[in-house]
Amino acid sequence: MQTELPQSKPSMEARIHGELLAHLPQDLYIPPDALAVYLEAFEGPLDLLLYLIRKHNLDILNIQMAELTRQYMLYVERMQAIKLELAGDYLLMSAMLIEIKSRMLLPNPADVIFEDDPRAELVRLLVEYEAIKLVAQRLDELPQVGRNILVADAHYHQISIVAPPEVSLDDLMDAWKNVLKRARHFQHHQVGRMELSVREHMSIILRKLRDALTNGESLVEFSQLFDVLNDGIPKLVVYFLAILELTREGLLRITQQAAFSPIYLQVGHSA
Protein backbone atom coordinates (compact mmCIF):
# COMPACT_ATOMS: atom_id res chain seq x y z
CA MET A 1 0.00 0.00 0.00
CA GLN A 2 1.37 3.33 -0.97
CA THR A 3 1.08 6.27 1.28
CA GLU A 4 1.33 9.87 0.38
CA LEU A 5 4.25 11.48 2.06
CA PRO A 6 4.25 15.10 3.06
CA GLN A 7 5.72 17.51 0.58
CA SER A 8 7.76 19.20 3.21
CA LYS A 9 8.39 19.02 6.87
CA PRO A 10 4.97 18.33 8.35
CA SER A 11 5.45 20.42 11.40
CA MET A 12 6.18 23.46 9.30
CA GLU A 13 2.71 23.20 7.91
CA ALA A 14 0.79 21.88 10.81
CA ARG A 15 1.43 24.89 12.90
CA ILE A 16 -1.04 27.48 11.83
CA HIS A 17 -4.05 27.92 14.10
CA GLY A 18 -5.23 24.40 13.89
CA GLU A 19 -5.36 24.66 10.15
CA LEU A 20 -4.07 21.30 9.26
CA LEU A 21 -2.12 21.34 6.08
CA ALA A 22 0.23 18.44 6.18
CA HIS A 23 -0.59 15.00 4.95
CA LEU A 24 0.17 12.40 7.46
CA PRO A 25 0.86 8.88 6.38
CA GLN A 26 -2.30 7.07 7.40
CA ASP A 27 -1.19 3.60 6.84
CA LEU A 28 1.41 1.28 7.92
CA TYR A 29 3.81 1.02 5.08
CA ILE A 30 6.23 3.84 4.58
CA PRO A 31 9.72 3.22 3.30
CA PRO A 32 11.88 3.29 6.42
CA ASP A 33 14.30 5.94 5.21
CA ALA A 34 11.45 8.22 4.22
CA LEU A 35 9.87 7.65 7.58
CA ALA A 36 13.08 8.57 9.32
CA VAL A 37 13.24 11.87 7.49
CA TYR A 38 9.62 12.42 8.27
CA LEU A 39 9.89 11.67 11.94
CA GLU A 40 13.08 13.63 12.37
CA ALA A 41 11.23 16.69 11.27
CA PHE A 42 9.56 16.82 14.66
CA GLU A 43 11.26 19.03 17.18
CA GLY A 44 10.32 16.75 20.05
CA PRO A 45 7.38 15.08 21.76
CA LEU A 46 5.41 18.31 22.18
CA ASP A 47 5.81 19.07 18.50
CA LEU A 48 4.63 15.58 17.62
CA LEU A 49 1.67 15.79 19.97
CA LEU A 50 0.63 19.15 18.58
CA TYR A 51 0.83 17.70 15.14
CA LEU A 52 -1.38 14.76 16.08
CA ILE A 53 -3.88 17.02 17.78
CA ARG A 54 -4.11 19.32 14.80
CA LYS A 55 -4.21 16.47 12.37
CA HIS A 56 -7.05 14.69 14.07
CA ASN A 57 -8.84 17.90 14.81
CA LEU A 58 -8.71 17.15 18.47
CA ASP A 59 -9.65 19.95 20.77
CA ILE A 60 -6.53 21.02 22.55
CA LEU A 61 -8.68 21.99 25.53
CA ASN A 62 -10.50 18.72 25.65
CA ILE A 63 -8.05 16.16 24.48
CA GLN A 64 -9.26 12.61 24.01
CA MET A 65 -6.45 10.99 25.86
CA ALA A 66 -7.07 7.47 24.68
CA GLU A 67 -6.87 8.40 21.02
CA LEU A 68 -3.95 10.76 21.42
CA THR A 69 -1.99 8.26 23.45
CA ARG A 70 -2.66 5.54 20.90
CA GLN A 71 -1.48 7.73 18.03
CA TYR A 72 1.53 8.91 19.90
CA MET A 73 2.61 5.41 20.89
CA LEU A 74 2.24 4.32 17.30
CA TYR A 75 4.76 6.90 16.21
CA VAL A 76 7.16 6.20 19.00
CA GLU A 77 7.04 2.51 18.15
CA ARG A 78 7.75 3.31 14.53
CA MET A 79 10.65 5.48 15.50
CA GLN A 80 12.02 2.67 17.62
CA ALA A 81 11.36 0.12 14.92
CA ILE A 82 13.51 1.98 12.42
CA LYS A 83 16.07 2.57 15.14
CA LEU A 84 15.76 6.30 14.94
CA GLU A 85 17.89 7.77 17.65
CA LEU A 86 15.02 8.44 19.99
CA ALA A 87 15.47 11.19 22.50
CA GLY A 88 14.59 10.13 26.02
CA ASP A 89 12.12 12.99 25.96
CA TYR A 90 9.80 10.93 23.75
CA LEU A 91 9.71 8.05 26.20
CA LEU A 92 9.18 10.42 29.09
CA MET A 93 6.18 11.81 27.26
CA SER A 94 4.83 8.29 26.71
CA ALA A 95 4.91 7.75 30.42
CA MET A 96 3.16 11.04 31.04
CA LEU A 97 0.42 10.27 28.53
CA ILE A 98 -0.21 6.85 29.98
CA GLU A 99 -0.37 8.27 33.43
CA ILE A 100 -2.87 10.92 32.41
CA LYS A 101 -4.93 8.36 30.59
CA SER A 102 -5.11 6.12 33.61
CA ARG A 103 -6.02 9.00 35.87
CA MET A 104 -8.79 9.88 33.47
CA LEU A 105 -10.25 6.45 34.05
CA LEU A 106 -10.84 7.30 37.65
CA PRO A 107 -14.34 8.49 38.52
CA ASN A 108 -15.55 11.89 37.42
CA PRO A 109 -13.74 12.47 34.16
CA ALA A 110 -14.60 15.97 33.12
CA ASP A 111 -15.37 17.23 29.68
CA VAL A 112 -14.22 20.68 30.53
CA ILE A 113 -10.79 21.00 31.91
CA PHE A 114 -10.64 22.34 35.38
CA GLU A 115 -7.93 22.86 37.83
CA ASP A 116 -7.28 19.30 38.87
CA ASP A 117 -7.95 17.80 35.50
CA PRO A 118 -5.15 15.33 34.89
CA ARG A 119 -4.71 16.88 31.44
CA ALA A 120 -4.14 20.38 32.75
CA GLU A 121 -0.36 20.22 32.85
CA LEU A 122 -0.16 18.64 29.41
CA VAL A 123 -2.45 21.29 27.97
CA ARG A 124 -0.39 24.03 29.56
CA LEU A 125 2.75 22.62 27.96
CA LEU A 126 1.11 22.26 24.56
CA VAL A 127 -0.42 25.70 24.56
CA GLU A 128 2.81 27.35 25.57
CA TYR A 129 4.85 25.40 23.06
CA GLU A 130 2.44 26.14 20.26
CA ALA A 131 2.56 29.83 21.04
CA ILE A 132 6.36 29.73 20.92
CA LYS A 133 6.32 27.81 17.68
CA LEU A 134 4.11 30.40 16.06
CA VAL A 135 6.06 33.32 17.33
CA ALA A 136 9.35 31.73 16.29
CA GLN A 137 8.01 31.56 12.79
CA ARG A 138 6.96 35.19 12.92
CA LEU A 139 10.40 36.19 14.19
CA ASP A 140 11.89 34.34 11.29
CA GLU A 141 9.70 36.29 8.90
CA LEU A 142 10.75 39.67 10.24
CA PRO A 143 13.11 41.67 8.06
CA GLN A 144 16.63 41.02 9.21
CA VAL A 145 19.92 42.78 8.76
CA GLY A 146 21.88 40.86 6.16
CA ARG A 147 18.74 39.23 4.76
CA ASN A 148 16.47 42.05 3.73
CA ILE A 149 18.01 44.97 5.53
CA LEU A 150 21.27 46.38 4.21
CA VAL A 151 22.88 49.07 6.27
CA ALA A 152 24.72 51.97 4.70
CA ASP A 153 28.41 51.33 5.09
CA ALA A 154 30.26 53.64 2.72
CA HIS A 155 33.92 54.36 3.11
CA TYR A 156 35.68 57.29 4.73
CA HIS A 157 39.30 58.12 5.26
CA GLN A 158 40.46 58.04 8.83
CA ILE A 159 42.35 61.27 9.08
CA SER A 160 45.06 60.52 11.53
CA ILE A 161 47.12 57.48 10.88
CA VAL A 162 47.21 55.11 13.79
CA ALA A 163 50.38 56.18 15.47
CA PRO A 164 52.28 53.29 16.96
CA PRO A 165 53.24 53.81 20.58
CA GLU A 166 56.24 56.01 21.14
CA VAL A 167 59.13 54.15 22.66
CA SER A 168 62.19 56.04 23.80
CA LEU A 169 65.53 54.66 24.78
CA ASP A 170 64.61 55.53 28.34
CA ASP A 171 61.48 53.40 28.13
CA LEU A 172 63.58 50.52 26.95
CA MET A 173 66.07 51.06 29.75
CA ASP A 174 63.33 51.16 32.33
CA ALA A 175 61.95 47.90 31.06
CA TRP A 176 65.37 46.29 31.11
CA LYS A 177 66.00 47.55 34.64
CA ASN A 178 62.74 46.03 35.75
CA VAL A 179 63.68 42.74 34.21
CA LEU A 180 67.04 42.78 35.89
CA LYS A 181 65.58 43.73 39.24
CA ARG A 182 63.41 40.70 39.21
CA ALA A 183 65.77 38.21 37.61
CA ARG A 184 68.08 37.15 40.37
CA HIS A 185 70.27 35.11 38.12
CA PHE A 186 71.47 38.30 36.55
CA GLN A 187 73.12 39.12 39.84
CA HIS A 188 76.64 39.03 38.56
CA HIS A 189 75.86 39.70 35.00
CA GLN A 190 76.96 42.84 33.32
CA VAL A 191 76.08 43.47 29.75
CA GLY A 192 78.84 45.43 28.13
CA ARG A 193 78.95 47.10 24.76
CA MET A 194 81.21 44.40 23.42
CA GLU A 195 78.84 41.67 24.39
CA LEU A 196 75.89 43.48 22.84
CA SER A 197 77.75 43.82 19.58
CA VAL A 198 78.41 40.13 19.69
CA ARG A 199 74.77 39.37 20.33
CA GLU A 200 73.74 41.66 17.49
CA HIS A 201 76.07 39.83 15.14
CA MET A 202 74.77 36.50 16.35
CA SER A 203 71.38 37.63 15.05
CA ILE A 204 72.90 38.88 11.82
CA ILE A 205 74.60 35.55 11.17
CA LEU A 206 71.46 33.57 11.95
CA ARG A 207 69.50 35.82 9.60
CA LYS A 208 72.02 35.23 6.82
CA LEU A 209 71.87 31.48 7.35
CA ARG A 210 68.08 31.65 7.34
CA ASP A 211 68.07 33.56 4.08
CA ALA A 212 70.56 31.15 2.53
CA LEU A 213 68.38 28.27 3.61
CA THR A 214 65.39 29.89 1.92
CA ASN A 215 67.48 29.91 -1.25
CA GLY A 216 68.15 26.21 -0.83
CA GLU A 217 71.65 26.53 0.56
CA SER A 218 72.11 24.89 3.90
CA LEU A 219 75.81 25.78 4.08
CA VAL A 220 77.31 29.23 4.09
CA GLU A 221 80.99 29.71 3.70
CA PHE A 222 82.60 31.41 6.64
CA SER A 223 84.28 34.09 4.55
CA GLN A 224 80.99 35.03 2.88
CA LEU A 225 79.73 36.41 6.14
CA PHE A 226 81.82 39.48 6.13
CA ASP A 227 83.72 41.83 3.92
CA VAL A 228 87.35 41.32 4.83
CA LEU A 229 88.51 44.38 2.96
CA ASN A 230 86.02 46.89 4.31
CA ASP A 231 84.79 45.62 7.64
CA GLY A 232 87.89 46.34 9.63
CA ILE A 233 89.53 44.25 12.30
CA PRO A 234 87.14 45.05 15.22
CA LYS A 235 84.18 43.95 13.18
CA LEU A 236 85.84 40.74 12.13
CA VAL A 237 86.65 40.01 15.73
CA VAL A 238 83.02 40.57 16.68
CA TYR A 239 81.90 38.23 13.91
CA PHE A 240 84.33 35.64 15.11
CA LEU A 241 83.16 35.95 18.70
CA ALA A 242 79.55 35.77 17.57
CA ILE A 243 80.28 32.56 15.68
CA LEU A 244 81.96 31.07 18.73
CA GLU A 245 79.06 32.06 20.96
CA LEU A 246 76.50 30.66 18.51
CA THR A 247 78.41 27.42 18.41
CA ARG A 248 78.63 27.30 22.17
CA GLU A 249 74.88 27.77 22.42
CA GLY A 250 74.35 25.00 19.88
CA LEU A 251 72.80 27.35 17.34
CA LEU A 252 75.50 26.92 14.78
CA ARG A 253 77.60 24.12 13.43
CA ILE A 254 81.00 24.64 11.87
CA THR A 255 82.44 22.14 9.46
CA GLN A 256 85.72 21.93 7.69
CA GLN A 257 86.75 18.94 5.62
CA ALA A 258 90.50 19.45 5.99
CA ALA A 259 92.91 22.02 7.22
CA PHE A 260 92.85 25.20 5.11
CA SER A 261 89.84 24.04 3.18
CA PRO A 262 86.78 26.33 3.32
CA ILE A 263 84.97 26.56 6.61
CA TYR A 264 81.25 26.10 6.34
CA LEU A 265 78.55 27.24 8.74
CA GLN A 266 75.11 25.74 9.09
CA VAL A 267 72.17 26.13 11.39
CA GLY A 268 71.97 23.76 14.36
CA HIS A 269 73.20 20.35 13.46
CA SER A 270 70.82 19.14 10.81
CA ALA A 271 68.55 21.85 9.49
Binding site: S11, M12, H17, E43, G44, P45, L46, D47, I60, L61, A87, D89, M93, I113, F114, E115, A120, V123, R124, L125, V127, E128, Y129, E130, A131, I132, K133, L134, V135, A136, Q137, R138, L139, D140, L142, P143, Q144, V145, G146, R147, N148, I149, L150, V151, A152, D153, A154, H155, Y156
Partner: protein
Amino acid sequence: MNEPKNIVEIKLILEAALLTAGEPLSLDDLLHLFAERMERATLRMLLDELKADWAPDSQKATMELVQVATGYRFQAREKYAPFLTRLNPEKQQKYSRATMETLAIIAYRQPVTRGDIEEIRGVAVNPNSIRQLQERDWIDIVGQRDVPGRPSLYATTKHFLDDLNLRSLGELPAMDDFVHPEMQLDF
Protein backbone atom coordinates in the same frame (compact mmCIF):
# COMPACT_ATOMS: atom_id res chain seq x y z
CA MET B 1 36.01 72.32 6.56
CA ASN B 2 35.86 74.27 9.76
CA GLU B 3 33.29 73.61 12.40
CA PRO B 4 29.90 73.78 10.67
CA LYS B 5 28.37 77.21 10.75
CA ASN B 6 24.80 76.44 9.83
CA ILE B 7 22.15 73.79 9.82
CA VAL B 8 22.83 72.78 6.24
CA GLU B 9 26.44 71.98 7.04
CA ILE B 10 25.53 70.16 10.23
CA LYS B 11 23.08 68.01 8.31
CA LEU B 12 25.68 67.16 5.69
CA ILE B 13 28.05 65.98 8.39
CA LEU B 14 25.31 63.90 10.00
CA GLU B 15 24.50 62.39 6.63
CA ALA B 16 28.14 61.56 5.90
CA ALA B 17 28.54 59.99 9.33
CA LEU B 18 25.41 57.86 9.04
CA LEU B 19 26.19 56.76 5.49
CA THR B 20 29.63 55.54 6.49
CA ALA B 21 28.99 54.11 9.96
CA GLY B 22 27.94 50.59 9.02
CA GLU B 23 26.02 50.37 12.30
CA PRO B 24 23.53 52.47 14.20
CA LEU B 25 24.85 55.67 15.75
CA SER B 26 23.35 56.86 19.02
CA LEU B 27 22.55 60.48 19.78
CA ASP B 28 25.66 60.54 21.95
CA ASP B 29 27.77 59.24 19.09
CA LEU B 30 26.37 61.88 16.79
CA LEU B 31 26.98 64.68 19.28
CA HIS B 32 30.65 63.69 19.24
CA LEU B 33 30.83 64.76 15.61
CA PHE B 34 30.72 68.39 16.60
CA ALA B 35 33.15 70.35 18.69
CA GLU B 36 30.43 72.70 19.78
CA ARG B 37 27.73 71.72 22.18
CA MET B 38 24.36 70.84 20.71
CA GLU B 39 21.06 70.20 22.40
CA ARG B 40 19.76 66.69 21.96
CA ALA B 41 16.41 68.17 20.97
CA THR B 42 18.11 70.11 18.17
CA LEU B 43 19.89 67.00 17.02
CA ARG B 44 16.65 65.03 17.00
CA MET B 45 15.03 67.73 14.93
CA LEU B 46 17.89 67.69 12.43
CA LEU B 47 17.66 63.93 12.15
CA ASP B 48 13.96 64.27 11.40
CA GLU B 49 14.81 66.74 8.65
CA LEU B 50 17.46 64.42 7.29
CA LYS B 51 14.93 61.60 7.28
CA ALA B 52 12.61 63.81 5.27
CA ASP B 53 15.41 64.72 2.85
CA TRP B 54 15.67 61.02 2.03
CA ALA B 55 11.97 60.59 1.39
CA PRO B 56 10.94 57.93 -1.14
CA ASP B 57 9.82 60.55 -3.64
CA SER B 58 13.00 62.60 -3.36
CA GLN B 59 16.25 62.42 -5.28
CA LYS B 60 17.62 60.52 -2.32
CA ALA B 61 15.30 57.58 -2.44
CA THR B 62 17.56 54.57 -2.12
CA MET B 63 18.15 54.80 1.61
CA GLU B 64 15.92 55.49 4.54
CA LEU B 65 16.97 56.81 7.89
CA VAL B 66 15.54 54.58 10.61
CA GLN B 67 15.78 54.47 14.35
CA VAL B 68 16.54 51.12 15.96
CA ALA B 69 17.45 50.03 19.48
CA THR B 70 20.94 51.49 19.62
CA GLY B 71 20.49 54.51 17.41
CA TYR B 72 19.99 55.77 13.89
CA ARG B 73 21.13 54.21 10.67
CA PHE B 74 20.63 54.51 6.95
CA GLN B 75 19.46 51.34 5.30
CA ALA B 76 18.53 50.47 1.77
CA ARG B 77 14.81 50.58 1.13
CA GLU B 78 13.43 47.11 1.30
CA LYS B 79 12.57 46.90 -2.39
CA TYR B 80 16.28 46.90 -3.24
CA ALA B 81 17.12 44.04 -0.88
CA PRO B 82 16.39 41.25 -3.37
CA PHE B 83 18.98 42.72 -5.72
CA LEU B 84 21.57 43.55 -3.11
CA THR B 85 21.48 40.11 -1.56
CA ARG B 86 22.50 38.65 -4.91
CA LEU B 87 25.96 39.97 -4.16
CA ASN B 88 26.52 37.67 -1.19
CA PRO B 89 23.96 34.90 -1.31
CA GLU B 90 26.02 32.87 1.15
CA LYS B 91 25.69 35.53 3.81
CA GLN B 92 21.97 34.89 4.06
CA GLN B 93 21.65 33.42 7.49
CA LYS B 94 18.90 30.88 7.87
CA TYR B 95 18.45 29.29 11.25
CA SER B 96 16.90 25.94 12.03
CA ARG B 97 13.52 25.66 13.69
CA ALA B 98 15.22 24.56 16.90
CA THR B 99 17.35 27.70 16.88
CA MET B 100 14.45 29.99 16.09
CA GLU B 101 12.31 28.44 18.82
CA THR B 102 15.14 28.81 21.29
CA LEU B 103 15.49 32.45 20.25
CA ALA B 104 11.74 33.01 20.58
CA ILE B 105 11.73 31.60 24.10
CA ILE B 106 14.66 33.78 25.10
CA ALA B 107 13.09 36.84 23.47
CA TYR B 108 9.63 36.42 24.96
CA ARG B 109 10.42 34.81 28.30
CA GLN B 110 13.75 36.38 29.18
CA PRO B 111 15.72 35.97 31.26
CA VAL B 112 15.62 32.19 30.98
CA THR B 113 17.93 29.29 31.72
CA ARG B 114 18.57 26.32 29.50
CA GLY B 115 16.27 24.39 31.82
CA ASP B 116 13.43 26.82 31.12
CA ILE B 117 13.96 26.45 27.39
CA GLU B 118 13.98 22.68 27.67
CA GLU B 119 10.79 22.71 29.68
CA ILE B 120 8.96 24.79 27.10
CA ARG B 121 10.24 22.90 24.06
CA GLY B 122 10.11 19.48 25.71
CA VAL B 123 13.54 18.52 24.38
CA ALA B 124 17.15 19.09 25.31
CA VAL B 125 18.61 22.38 24.13
CA ASN B 126 20.92 21.99 21.19
CA PRO B 127 24.19 23.65 22.23
CA ASN B 128 24.65 24.73 18.62
CA SER B 129 21.51 26.83 18.79
CA ILE B 130 22.81 28.71 21.80
CA ARG B 131 26.24 29.10 20.23
CA GLN B 132 24.87 30.40 16.92
CA LEU B 133 22.76 32.97 18.70
CA GLN B 134 25.65 34.05 20.89
CA GLU B 135 27.99 34.33 17.94
CA ARG B 136 25.49 36.50 16.15
CA ASP B 137 25.45 38.61 19.32
CA TRP B 138 21.69 38.18 19.54
CA ILE B 139 21.70 36.71 23.05
CA ASP B 140 24.01 36.88 26.00
CA ILE B 141 24.26 35.77 29.57
CA VAL B 142 22.88 38.34 31.97
CA GLY B 143 23.35 36.51 35.25
CA GLN B 144 22.85 33.25 37.06
CA ARG B 145 19.72 31.98 38.68
CA ASP B 146 20.25 31.54 42.35
CA VAL B 147 19.51 27.83 42.49
CA PRO B 148 21.86 24.87 42.80
CA GLY B 149 24.23 24.78 39.84
CA ARG B 150 23.67 28.50 39.33
CA PRO B 151 22.50 28.09 35.72
CA SER B 152 23.14 30.98 33.34
CA LEU B 153 20.30 33.30 32.49
CA TYR B 154 20.01 34.23 28.82
CA ALA B 155 18.49 37.39 27.41
CA THR B 156 18.39 39.05 24.02
CA THR B 157 20.77 41.90 23.23
CA LYS B 158 20.19 45.33 21.75
CA HIS B 159 22.02 44.09 18.71
CA PHE B 160 19.25 41.54 18.21
CA LEU B 161 16.71 44.36 18.17
CA ASP B 162 18.88 46.35 15.75
CA ASP B 163 19.14 43.39 13.41
CA LEU B 164 15.38 42.95 13.37
CA ASN B 165 14.78 46.65 12.86
CA LEU B 166 13.19 47.09 16.27
CA ARG B 167 13.56 49.81 18.84
CA SER B 168 12.50 47.77 21.85
CA LEU B 169 11.24 44.34 22.85
CA GLY B 170 7.75 45.84 22.91
CA GLU B 171 7.89 45.99 19.12
CA LEU B 172 8.27 42.23 18.80
CA PRO B 173 5.33 40.51 17.12
CA ALA B 174 2.63 39.82 19.65
CA MET B 175 2.62 36.38 21.14
CA ASP B 176 -0.51 34.40 20.47
CA ASP B 177 -2.64 33.97 23.51
CA PHE B 178 -5.62 32.75 21.57
CA VAL B 179 -6.26 29.71 23.70
CA HIS B 180 -5.96 31.32 27.05
CA PRO B 181 -9.24 33.19 27.43
CA GLU B 182 -11.43 30.10 27.29
CA MET B 183 -9.06 27.99 29.25
CA GLN B 184 -9.78 29.32 32.68
CA LEU B 185 -6.92 27.34 33.95
CA ASP B 186 -5.54 28.44 37.19
CA PHE B 187 -1.91 27.63 36.60
